[in-house]
Amino acid sequence: MTDIDRREFLTHAAGGVAAMALVPNLKAYGAFALNQPVRIGVVGVGRQGREIMGELGKLPDVSVVAVCDVDERRLKSGLRRSSGAMGYATVHELLSSGTVDAVAIATPTHTHKDVALECIKAGVHIYLECPLAHTREDCVAISEAARSAPAVIAAGLQGRSNPVYSLARGFFRSDSVRDLISMRAQNNLKTTWVSPSNDPVRKAALNWKLDPERANGLAGEWGTHQFDVFHWYTGKYPTRVVGNGGVRFYEDGRKVNDTIACSLMFEDGATLSYDATLANSYGGKHEVFFGSNAAIKLGWSHGWLFKEADAPTQGWEVYANRQQFHNDEGITLIAGATKLAEQGKLKEGIGLPNPSVHYALLDWVSAIASKGSPSCSIDEAARATVVGIAANEAIVTGKTVDIDLAGL
């Protein structure tokens, strides 16, 4: 961070009441106005697609008018979650109907390229779930097509639109952690990662994540989202990665590791350690920045600042809410803290009222309304996805893999 950045942040954050520094303006995340409702089609209505439908339903001036899925059962489920939407088996049929201004794409990762390119060609606004694709070539193809598109194309790396993450990034960029020593992240979730079906053909189609030809394992599917948080905060990308993994728990013949660990190395010597497992949930999903003055821990709906004893004190800390973690005390980074305090609702453990995807969709629709840019561009998503692909390659091969972001 430059001194100018630091001064600029401190001027904005420290002026007036010190406690205001803790408060991202949640209201600003919901501020958009449209001349007419955006007509949205949701492509891919599995679990993620249905969640997107639910969150779009909470937004003003948005109407889900179409749902699309090649899987008949999922299409029916999606339609049941809509109010009068039309159903389509293919994205081509959906786009040909001419009924949508925008599409949210939540299809399997390996299908993103074909779906996204068709939507870009049709000129509709796009929200594209991440990882962007399962190969570097597909990332490049989507990225190149998106650059010349007049529509708003947002990528679903949700950390970039998460109010808690934006708030914490302000602290990070203003030097609250001081010298960045190291970074760590994990995603632990006890789950089979299997979508059930008693039809073998359908089961194979639904379980693309467990096919190494169609997906990039835990590092690709989960890690990409978390790696991007570090890219966004530091403004840097790793250059090399080493890793390992194995099937430690699920003895069902799967070929994709259920447990992984990798180290992503940056040019300046910093290292991001990442591990993930499907066999244990302890600690869940989080990212940590370790600095000489403090650590910042981010848990998607929550964030905390852990200060060192020799770190300088800032005025607002006196009023801050705190949470105990064994021997450590975290200052809670609460989105909308002042408003909650006024309502007497500021309490320990309070987090974001909506899931991360809500803010990503809100950011996208706001960008459509303002003809602006979304928080996460396709280019940023392409780079994060390629990092995830490289990490998976390192884990699968056991070799050190150079991360090539040239041209992205």
Binding site: R47, R50, T191, V194, P196, N354
Partner: protein, 326 residues
């Protein structure tokens, strides 16, 4: 071995099947809808491996959590909260799933003579179950039988009074168990047992050792739940102190006051878990309904603190409890 927590004084599993072999059953427990859910799904090789069953149980957990988020009155962004804070006279478009639930609730209100009513949430607020500022006088003139209207053509709901507060708590668990049954059957599951907080139960097929899913119901009766669902309601399971007296959480929407009858508990066994939940709630409030509702058909046991249980058993699922069933 897995031990499901079906061991309330009212309902607990036959000891012969209570210990579940986790080599043949996938077991998953989690918190949702204000209680602990447990899902047991039996593997059946070669078509249904234990890992398949685990993934099925996980899918069902997602289904429950999804509906928890959609229906919770404590979540400001749930559909229920959106309905409750919308002004009277303003139409709210619902998705088809949510409209189906509202329609079912309205049908159950009619079939229970207005005793089961999701607008009873209004009473929970007024009597202080939902806030510290109870004011039951504010709803004296309110007619809960005309709380809202549904428009099937548009798939919408409209509140008819600003004071109306909907609460799906009395049926949410049963409704989601019905959805789970549909999914489990579709996925080819032959034997499964699911309960939410032991008060809403779904039993498919048979239990371990091919024995039926038999559960004790009170001191004298055992119920064969296989192929059925059960709903259990208790009057004093939750209460607040109002005006120096205990007020139970079962309210009569017709009179708008808490019940003070001698009925302590009602168990209803029905094909549908949602209907079982609604009927058990209705019979807690109005036990004389049991005779008529049992012709649905369903089996109903009404427990009274002063008298022996009253039994209506057209399904023929209730038997005398075995001695060793403790």
């Amino acid at each position: 071995m897995h031990l499901p927590s079906i061991q309330t004084p009212c309902v607990h599993l036959d000891p012969e099947i209570r210990h579940i072999d986790d080599e043949s059953f996938a077991c998953l427990g989690f918190e949702a809808m204000g209680c602990r859910f447990e899902i047991l799904v039996e593997a059946r090789l070669p078509s249904l491996s234990l890992c398949d069953c685990k993934s099925i149980a996980e899918e069902m957990r997602e289904l429950v959590l999804d509906w928890h988020n959609r229906l919770s009155i404590f979540h400001p962004h749930s559909i229920t909260s959106q309905i409750n804070r919308t002004e009277a006279g303003q139409e709210i478009l619902l998705d088809q799933d949510m409209y189906s639930l509202c329609e079912l609730c309205d049908q159950l209100r009619v079939s229970t003579n207005g005793v089961f009513n999701i607008a009873a949430g209004t009473l929970m607020h007024a009597h202080g179950f939902r806030s510290t500022s109870a004011d039951d006088s504010a709803i004296e003139d309110l007619d809960l039988s005309e709380a809202f209207t549904l428009d099937k053509g548009r798939g919408s709901i409209m509140k008819l009074d600003d004071r109306i507060m909907l609460d799906f708590g009395a049926i949410a668990k049963g409704f989601v168990l019905d959805l789970i049954r549909e999914e489990l059957v579709e996925l080819g599951v032959a034997n499964a047992f699911v309960h939410g907080g032991t008060s809403s139960i779904l039993a498919i097929g048979s239990g371990p050792k091919s024995r039926p899913w038999i559960s004790a119901a009170g001191q004298q009766h055992a119920v064969n739940l296989s192929g059925y669902s059960a709903g259990v309601s208790e009057i004093y399971s939750r209460e607040v102190i109002q005006g120096g007296r205990k007020v139970g959480h079962v309210m009569d929407p017709r009179t708008k006051v808490s019940m003070e009858s001698t009925v302590s508990r009602v168990v209803c066994v029905h094909q549908s878990a949602a209907v079982a939940d609604a009927y058990s709630t209705a019979c807690c409030v109005s036990p004389q309904l049991a005779d008529r509702l049992s012709s649905d058909p369903c089996s109903i046991i009404v427990f009274d603190v002063n008298n022996p249980p009253t039994l209506h058993d057209p399904l023929g699922v209730v038997s005398k409890r075995l001695k060793n069933h403790t």
